[in-house]
């Protein structure tokens, strides 16, 4: 964690939205809570707000730390803070936990007021469009008519795209990092294996495990282990772990032998203790469904026709889960619409996770772009 230029100690805030949310699936959420954090100060013109959207396992805790928890730095603390690339001296930055999440916004583990029990399997499937709709309600609550920028990495970048399509007047810039305009079949396949790991866990109970006072830990752990492999690159794993053995020799058994096994199991265990399996299922479905071109016969350029935001699109060379080709699809659609767009392909060996890492060129690009944004 970087203590330098940190936004310091932060406190989550809650908003209860009473306006019914009509979801893409046809289901309706009559009311819901959103948990969010803010960093920096909203200026009097309310023109310096930046919304940060989180990826699969992220949350509203984007920057800063919680009191008495020195290791609780937000997931993008290296990017956001005073004098950092997204400078909280200039911008009012908002992080929000998405609907269906498990960090405080209404999700499958929340109590359904109609039954007095956790939603569990009855929590409706939510999409990127639904999230943007809910985020717009938060913007209304905060009195923000137009964001200076909406941005995020991976699934977060998809939300930034959706904002530009659904609310062209409500953002001036979109930061789309390590994202895609749709998942490939291979990507959906990975997600489904992760889902099957959870759903086939005997402790899953059709998603109602809360009532049985248990968790599908093994399934969620497997799902995370698989996901983690795809977020790294072959190179980064080779460099970090290689074929290193924990004990220095084969033990001819099935216990942990290679360092990579140890690392993945540790990551899986840690995640299974923190994350809700139903939320994981929901997030992967939101990823799979995202495809703004679908309503335009697959024509992504047509999908972007009404977008007005300026775009910064970034990809990472070793990211094979959201490859540079997918970012170039987005850039092509923006060029076809004569949108202001800059695109950079950042050389990195950290795979999809690169967007969370500190990298000189990457962070300087974001800083240079943000510095040009008028508030």
């Amino acid at each position: 964690m970087q203590a330098q230029n940190s936004v310091g100690i932060v406190t989550p805030q809650y908003v209860h939205i009473d306006k019914p949310l009509h979801l893409m699936s046809g289901a309706v959420l009559n009311s819901y809570n959103l948990v969010y954090e803010t960093y920096g100060k909203l200026n009097s013109a309310k023109s310096n707000a930046v919304l940060i959207c989180h990826a699969l396992s992220g949350s509203h805790h984007v920057a800063g730390i919680y009191a008495d928890q020195p290791k609780s730095a937000g997931w993008w603390d290296n990017m956001i803070g005073p004098d950092k690339s997204i400078d909280t001296n200039r911008f009012f930055v908002i992080g929000v936990n998405n609907l269906g999440g498990c960090h405080g916004s209404t999700g499958p583990a929340s109590i359904d007021a109609r039954t007095g029990r956790p939603y569990g399997a009855s929590f409706p499937i939510v999409t990127v469009e639904d999230w943007v709709e809910a985020q717009a309600q938060l913007a209304d609550h905060l009195g923000i008519d137009q964001f200076a920028a909406v941005g995020g990495g991976s699934l977060g970048g998809m939300q930034a795209i959706q904002w530009a399509l659904d609310y062209p007047e409500r953002l001036r810039h979109a930061l789309v990092i390590a994202a895609a305009s749709k998942l490939t079949a291979q990507n959906i396949a990975f997600n489904d294996v992760a889902r099957q790991a959870i759903i086939s866990d005997q402790e899953f109970y059709g998603g109602d495990y809360y009532s049985y006072d248990t968790l599908p830990r093994r399934g969620l752990r497997l799902a995370r282990m698989l996901g983690h492999i795809t977020y790294l690159s072959d190179d980064s794993m080779a460099i970090k772990f290689g074929r290193d053995l924990r004990s220095g020799a084969f033990s001819f058994g099935y216990d942990v032998e290679f360092e990579i096994e140890s690392y993945l199991r540790y990551q899986g265990d840690k995640f299974a203790d923190q994350f809700d399996a139903n939320s994981y299922l929901l997030m992967t479905k939101a990823l799979d469904y995202f495809d703004p071109a679908n309503a335009y016969n697959g024509d992504l350029s047509a999908a972007f026709r009404n977008a007005k935001a300026n775009f910064l699109v970034l990809s990472f060379t070793s990211d094979w889960r959201f490859s540079p080709e997918r970012s170039r699809d987005i850039v092509k659609a923006l060029l076809d619409n004569e949108a202001n767009v800059s695109y950079a392909e950042i050389t990195s060996r950290h795979g999809h996770d690169s967007f969370l890492m500190v990298d000189g060129y990457y962070h300087q690009l974001v800083r240079a772009y943000m510095d040009k944004i008028e508030t």
């Binding site: 910064l312 170039r328 850039v331 092509k332 060029l335 076809d336 004569e338 202001n340 767009v341 800059s342 695109y343 950079a344 392909e345 050389t347 060129y361 300087q364 690009l365 240079a368 772009y369 510095d371 040009k372």
Partner: protein, 203 residues
Amino acid sequence: MTHITKSSDISRPDFAAIAAWISPGAKVLDLGCGDGSLLRYLHDTRSIFGYGVEIDDNNVLSCVRNGVNVIQNDLESGLSTFESDSFDYVILSQTLQAMRHTEEIVNEMLRVGKQGIVSFPNFGYWKNRAQVISGHMPVSEELPYQWFDTPNIHLCTLGDFEELCNLCGAQILERIVMNGGRQIAFLPNLIGMLAFYRFERQK
């Protein structure tokens, strides 16, 4: 490979020569745009809308700092991100001589732009010829590299480039030849240091 554009080093007369060919409000693609200063200049003087293409990280960063749209891409792999006929002008400023796929990039310029503008150091300039006669590869202000470290792998003279245009089906519309900021009309292939061409597809 790195495209050597040094657009920040180009004196204003260079910029002005290109700007004079650009109609106000035009849509411009600048290939190998360097730090984006030509695009910035065209934006400020001709109100153009445009994009730069650049491979070098530092240059891409400078473009963003200059508030210029830039797409990080290798010109050698073509311009497939850009639709045919989607730009009024496609500019290749002092990059041609450093490209491996010279013919291909001229063809791509003709495809993507209604007109192409190319500038390059004239290898036929008399001082270059004199250095070759004296037994050495030329080193000068326009060609500041030694033969063994130069990125300029496809140097040409005015006549050479005009032959390439003919080969690619490019109709030359205008030519300017400059020496130290002055336009040259007399013996351009001998006295000219920098050449500028404006061309379009042969009809």
